[in-house]
Every structure is written in C-alpha cells, then in structure tokens.
Subunit: 273 residues, 2 copies
C-alpha cells in the first residue's frame, strides 16, 4: 500500500481515501463515488479496528463480508481495497496513541470512553500509510468527522477532510452496518431517531429556536416505545459540540439510542436564528 | 515552511531535520553537520515547547539566543531555520496529543510526567510541517530518541530517526543548554555524572556484568557531594528501557541528578556479556 501511495504521489495523482469497517452499504458507496469524482486514485480501507470497540461492545460479532465488500467497492469506483491485518496496524510492542481531547468529551464520548482514541489512532496510521489528499467521512458519524477534522488541523496533516450526506433507508433510518442486527420490530422502533430529528427540523423551520422546547417535542417521539432507550440527545454547536440553549447559525442535533441490543446514532445540521 | 518542504519533496531532494529548543551548542551543531553530510536540504527548528515543561520547571528562564542560533546554525550548514510561534504550534482550540505509553514509564518519565507527551506532540507536528526524510537526535537524550523512534514506527511515519553521539566538554560533562545555569562549583559537581558512567564502562570492560555491583561502584562517585542529588540511576535494556540485573548485549546506563537547582542527565550504551 505504501508503495502504491508513493508512486501515485510521485506522479502527482490526487489520492482519495475512504476508511471503513467494511460490510459496505450505500452510505459507504456514496463516499467512494464522491472520492471517484474528485480524485485520480481511490483507496478504500476495510479494517474492523479493535481499539475503537470497548470490551463489552460488538467487536467480535461486527458483520464482515470481505468478498461482497470487494465487489461493491469496485463497482462504486475504488481502485484499491486496503485490507490490513492487526499485525500491521498494531504490531507487538506498539504503544503510540493519538487523542483529541475536548470534542471527545461530548455526545458519544462519555458513553464510549476509549472509542475516539481508537479512531484517531488508527486513522492517523492509515493517513501515514495512504498519504491521501482527501479523505471522506459520512455525516451519520458527525462527531467522528469533527474529531478527525480537528486532529488533522492540530497536527498539521496535509489531507482535506470531506463530509458527505447521510444516506437513509426509504423510511428515513440512517444506513449503518449495525442495522443488520435489528429484528423487524426493532427496525420499526429505530425509525424514531429520524422521526424525532424531522420534528426538530419542522419546528426550527417554523421559527422555534428554543433548545428545551425542541427537545421536549422530540422526546414525545420516544414515549411508550418499549424497545427504545434513549442514550443522549444533544442540541449543540456544530463546531465545538457544546450544548446550546438556542438554535443558531450552525447547530447540530445528535442522538444515540439503544434499540434492543443495538446502538443507533443519527443527527441533523440546522441553521437557526 | 510547508511550501519549502513541498517544493523540496517535488524536486525529490532529501530533507534532513534537526529539531531543537535553541541556545545551540556544539552538540546541536554536530547534528546539523551530520544532516548536512546526508541530506540535500537541512532544516533546523528552534522552538521552546511549553508543553514539554511542567509548571514548576524552567520554561520561563530557559536560555534563548535567536541571533546567535541563526549564525551558528548557518555556519554548521543549515539551509533553513524554522522559528514557529506558539500560535502556529498550539493555536487556540488545539486539543490533539500524541502519546507513547510504555517507554515513557521509565527513566525521566516518572519525574517529568507530561514531558514526553509534549515532546511527541510537538515533534509529530514538526514532522508533518517539514516532511523530513531523516531527523537527527543526540544520544544525550537517549529516552527521547527511543520514544520518537517508537512513535515513528507505530504511526508508520516516513522518516528515518538518526541518533548521534553525545558531545562533551573537555572534562566529560555532556553538552546541554542547561549547563549555562551552573555556578563554577556546581559545574565541578556536575562532572560526577560522566565520571560514574566511566566507572561503569571500565568495570564492564573488565568483565563485571552485575547491575547491582556496577550500581554500587557508580554510587561511590556521588558520596559526600554536597551540591549533588541523584534522581535516578537505571541499568536497563536499550530497546525497552526496562531494568536488567545483568549487563547484556545492548544495555543503557542512564542517570539524572540535580546539581543545585539544575537538572542534568547523561547516559552510556554498553555491550556486556
């Protein structure tokens, strides 16, 4: 992989990079297509990074489909599929970690304490190996996008971080590899995340900018949903991720919920006042 | 600086890099000369990195001489002197840190708890800005060399880390910008670090490989030295920095001591059994 990147750099070809955990769905494919449109060389990595899963999380059962991934990535326009082993990403004796501090204290951070440290460490390594000019991330994982964008800025890395829109099922559920865990009943309960965000969007479009009133309306969506347990719902500044009391120029509404044993996240970016 | 590095890279010129805290002495100049001999472009950075000093350490009084540094670096063969401000290295809102874990638990680590985190964070940033092919560090700061070497390996950074020999005063005291703090009396006490290492070297050359016996002999050098307070003395594996009971193939003897209010370090690499 290093040789391929080095050669591409020497020819001054733009390298586009889409890091994934595999089990590719249309959300991933939209990132690959976007990279294809902007870059001469498109690299997709598939690596289920153990470091970004906590001990009790779903690392061991995370869905994997190497053959399907290769076909889908190829069809979407990828030139290279990088499939590193843990021996390459974390060889014996490896002990270096990259951490972004403030942004990881909000939203998913408190509920997944070492998650973002795992993400930034592995993405920093992948950036060093692949040397991309641009890297593509989905809005569904908005906090991950912001954390990586901040890491790149702080460490003076020479890669442009691009955020692409969330791709959704026909009923609005954000695409995720974890959706494969859901039973039909859970699948229906999962739509509440999207529906609550739609409520917020409509309220804001009607001139309601009060976070507490928007939150109250969103919470109604979750009432009497047996399989649904909200983890957090944050109305926050899209840059700093700090809670805001009023929806202003760049506001993020993000939430996480457990639907049965599956954790789902979703978010929306809004312009308020 | 980014533009200069990018241009040099495009021309496929080798970039040699010597990061320093400034107040250049012959130890630094030997690194610059070594870089000059190996690389087409030689960059020296001068930055007194606040993050690698603890609150009670000597950041505010650390000696500075920008004009002298420019002259000396130039005379030793540097092409560029990079003099970043803290606004560039740690702009408002910066929050990303690089940490090497195991190696920083030994030697200076416990006595300077956030020191190496500061070093690896700033060096990672400098590497991203300067994109060196080779970077040069002195053996006097052996643990720093190992920590940076480990960071580069773990994060797959494309730079070769070179260690150059410690340069000493005529009486053996390792060159350091901090030597400027020493009174004439302290200056004489400071030689004990080197003398104790010489004792160890002679013992090992005579076939004495027992760490405890070598340590005992070294400690005699510090007896009844009023101005001298040993902080640590470690006989350890040069790769892992873990203590060893027997001097074997690649062993490091490293020590730190306070001479009055000045902290000095020194070390020696030995081949034992």
């Amino acid at each position: 992989m290093k040789k391929i990147s080095e050669d591409a750099r020497k020819r001054r070809w733009g390298i586009g990079f889409v890091p994934t955990l595999g089990y590719l769905h249309p959300g991933h494919l939209s990132l690959i297509k976007r990279a294809r449109g902007l870059c001469r060389v498109v690299v997709v990595s598939v690596y289920v990074n153990p470091m970004q899963f906590a001990p009790r999380e779903d690392f061991s059962i995370y869905p994997r489909d190497p053959k399907g991934d290769a076909e889908k990535a190829n069809a979407a326009g990828a030139d290279y599929l990088f499939y590193p082993s843990t021996n390459v990403m974390y060889p014996k004796g490896s002990q270096t970690f990259v951490q972004v501090e403030n942004l990881t204290r909000f939203l998913c951070g408190p509920f997944r304490p070492s998650h973002f440290r795992g993400v930034t460490t592995v993405v920093a390594k992948l950036f060093e190996i692949i040397e991309p000019h641009r890297a593509f991330f989905g809005q569904k994982d908005y906090q991950q996008f912001r954390v990586i964008q901040q890491m790149v800025k702080d460490l003076h890395m020479k890669v442009k971080i691009e955020m692409c829109p969330t791709i959704r099922e026909h009923d609005g559920l954000a695409m995720s590899s974890r959706n494969s865990y859901l039973s039909p009943k859970e699948r229906r309960a999962g739509i509440s995340l999207f529906r609550s965000l739609q409520r917020a969007k409509i309220l804001v479009s009607k001139g309601e900018f009060s976070s507490s009133r928007i939150r109250r309306s969103m919470m109604k969506e979750f009432e009497e949903k047996a399989k649904f347990k909200l983890e957090y719902l944050s109305i926050c500044d899209a840059q700093t991720l700090q809670e805001v009391t009023t929806v202003r120029k760049k506001t993020l509404i993000a939430l996480a919920a457990w639907v049965g044993k599956t954790r789902l996240i979703d978010n929306i970016l809004l312009r308020g006042e």
